[in-house]
Homo-oligomer: 180 residues x 2
Amino acid sequence: MSIKEIESRRSVRKYCAQEVEQEKILRLLESARLAPSGSNTQPWQFIIVRSPETKARLAAADHGQTWMLSAPVFIVCIADLCSRVKDTAGIRLDEQSPDEELKQIIRDTAIAMEHILLEAQTQGLSTCWTAWFQQEDVRSVLHLPGDKYVCGIITVGYGDEAPEPRPRKVLEDIVRYETW
Amino acid sequence: MSIKEIESRRSVRKYCAQEVEQEKILRLLESARLAPSGSNTQPWQFIIVRSPETKARLAAADHGQTWMLSAPVFIVCIADLCSRVKDTAGIRLDEQSPDEELKQIIRDTAIAMEHILLEAQTQGLSTCWTAWFQQEDVRSVLHLPGDKYVCGIITVGYGDEAPEPRPRKVLEDIVRYETW
């Protein structure tokens, strides 16, 4: 028996107007809070956005994906460099930053984000992980310091569509034994 | 009710000698196969290692963590740049590579890896996500091409310890509302 949320979850891009209970949002955040991370650094920060104005500006920054606006809640998921680097003064992370630590905090924040996606499925909520933006555009909307890196904006709501599963590679194309 | 695997999973660094059924390994890989990824690119590759010689060389590359050797199976989890970049000739990814696409494939491979960790919990297996290595050291053991980036080596086996939960930050320290 596999984890049913892993099997059943789909990216949903159309939501009902129904609000999302704050208690459920807290459950999602709790699942993220429990995520494992390198050296238990927990390099993640989350911004809950419900304001229509801010959502509109974020969707505009996120390649103008207006479908996002039907979701009552956005969770902006941020990897925080200062969890691993003592002096981040003057740092301004972007898509071309070479830092090793940035790779580590992106990895760890992705784990926590996936917990949110799976937990939402348990809570009867639908989600989509979006990341079609440039750091600077989201940074300016949310007044993020330069040592923060936005890993994604998760739309959250009660789904108003039931997409079919997307195709996946067969196991034989992604698994090897003993060596490359 | 939250996902029980998220709540109960611990990193385990001591394993029983008992072998892990190949059927269970395939369940773990299936959960990884189903993971979401940017534009459904599925940029992951997995190498299943059971050979004691290869495990010893990998543990040596992984900061000499000899505890790893008690695990009967290693799953080496690889982000594959050629899933997003057409011409990867001459590329040799390492910890300082600045590529935007590398950040994306690390993110996506981390999602698939976390599916493996959670699914292992369902299967009664224990795991530890390790990543205390340099790319070049693991690359040479497994003969990996330069456009592959190792996101981690997961140890898998039946646990022989039951660690207490590690501390986590409180929600108030990782959640904000509407803006930074």
